[in-house]
């Protein structure tokens, strides 16, 4: 009896902790490139992520291999990999820190730290929209990334470079662990 009580007491905090963990179950990340003659989007479904919450604060991490983005053209994807130094820095890593209460809001302004192409950029007050699907929570939003944020030399076509803005659409479904 005493042993059971000890075990329960020992495991209880761990159980509480486990309830505050989130795992990314499904994701669609899409970069968008605009050129006067082209509009191209590259999509990846290979992101993995985790979120840990404790003491009312949550830390989320999402990472995705750069080489998993698919624009429908293998030549373009390889060129993209080259200009974003994707073999040298193979992961895009996004971190954010949120108050746990913000997770229940339909819209949250998140401060994001994005590591990409060997650089780190911070984006403040990025609006993220929340939709519940049973236990799962779908988060959507757009990271207003740009080439200059990550010191990416803009590729050009017929001597005209692409636009500096490369917004990244995020659609991520999280599940409590």
């Amino acid at each position: 009896m005493k042993f059971a009580a000890v075990l329960l007491l020992a495991v209880a905090p761990v159980m509480l902790h486990a309830q505050n963990q989130w795992v990314l179950t499904q994701s669609t990340l899409t970069w968008n490139v605009t050129h006067p003659m082209h509009e191209v989007a590259g999509t990846s479904h290979a992101a993995k992520g985790k979120g840990n919450c404790s003491a009312g604060q949550c830390d989320f991490l999402i990472a995705v291999p750069v080489n998993t983005f698919d624009s429908g053209d293998s030549n373009r994807d390889l060129h993209t990999l080259e200009v974003v130094r994707g073999a040298q820095y193979p992961m895009v890593i996004v971190r954010t820190h949120l108050a746990q209460a913000a997770l229940d809001q339909p819209t949250t302004d998140a401060d994001l730290e994005v590591q990409f192409a060997g650089q780190t950029a911070h984006y403040a007050h990025v609006p993220l929209h929340r939709t519940s699907h049973g236990n799962d929570v779908e988060i959507t939003g757009t990271i207003p990334a740009s080439c200059s944020d990550f010191k990416i030399d803009r590729p050009s076509f017929l001597t005209v470079p692409i636009r500096n803005e490369i917004p990244v659409n995020v659609d991520a479904t999280w599940k409590p662990e």
Binding site: A5, A10, G49, D73, M91, T120, N164
Partner: protein, 275 residues
Amino acid sequence: MAAGRSLAALVCVALVPLMTLAQPSGNPPVASASTDPASSSSSAVPGAVLNLPDAPAPNGPQSTAQNQTQTPSSSSQQTQNNDKNQQPQSGNAPTLGDLGFTPQQTLANAEMQKRLNERTHDLKMHQTFGLITAVPMCAAVLVAGGAKSKKNRSNPNGTVTGPSSSGVDLHVALGSGTAVLYGLTAYYAIAAPKIPGVKPKGAIKWHRDLVWIHAPGMVLTPILGAMALNQENNGERVHGIASAHSYVAWTTIAAYGVSIVAVSWPIHLKFWEKK
């Protein structure tokens, strides 16, 4: 006494996990933005103090400068960079190591980056020479009329007037220039390093497949042209396979043109739109 010991043991066991969770992290959970202000757009917030988990060392302001000087060959530095990415951010923040990526996915590959850089360089040369080649190719077609024998239209059974030597020379010079430039263009496409495991997909597939039309065409066209010229110089009407010279040339040009458009497809003309 025994009951007291049990209670003390219970309290201890119960508190240990809580104490573990409550341990402060090695690094304070505040990071400042680290992008170079000169390079940041208005969307980024350089210099802002954000309530974020501690960023790994390579991404701090110092590391940004370090990254700038990093060359693709410095594999040890890159690996170190990735290793640091996997360091814990704080006591609570998840790390890259928690996500279950394979080392193959997360480790830098300097050799691959070098191959990608070489590939881009070679394909840019391929593109440049390819566009330049189109100029003498089109010009050769435009002046082709001057290299042809002329029939006397009023008397179809009459003699055939040979082409002017300047017309022939110009057509041959443009054709030869086209062949040389085409060879250079092809060289850079063939020399560009191949990336293992990547299958051609999308518009590039058309671009590559059309080679099977314009490459034989680029070999056949000058041969047939030489045969046709030889026949004309002998006062003969162009006959036999040599008479296909212009058809082969036109097919080659058409395939070449489609190949250029295909690699750029889909094209959205939006010059007049301003967002």
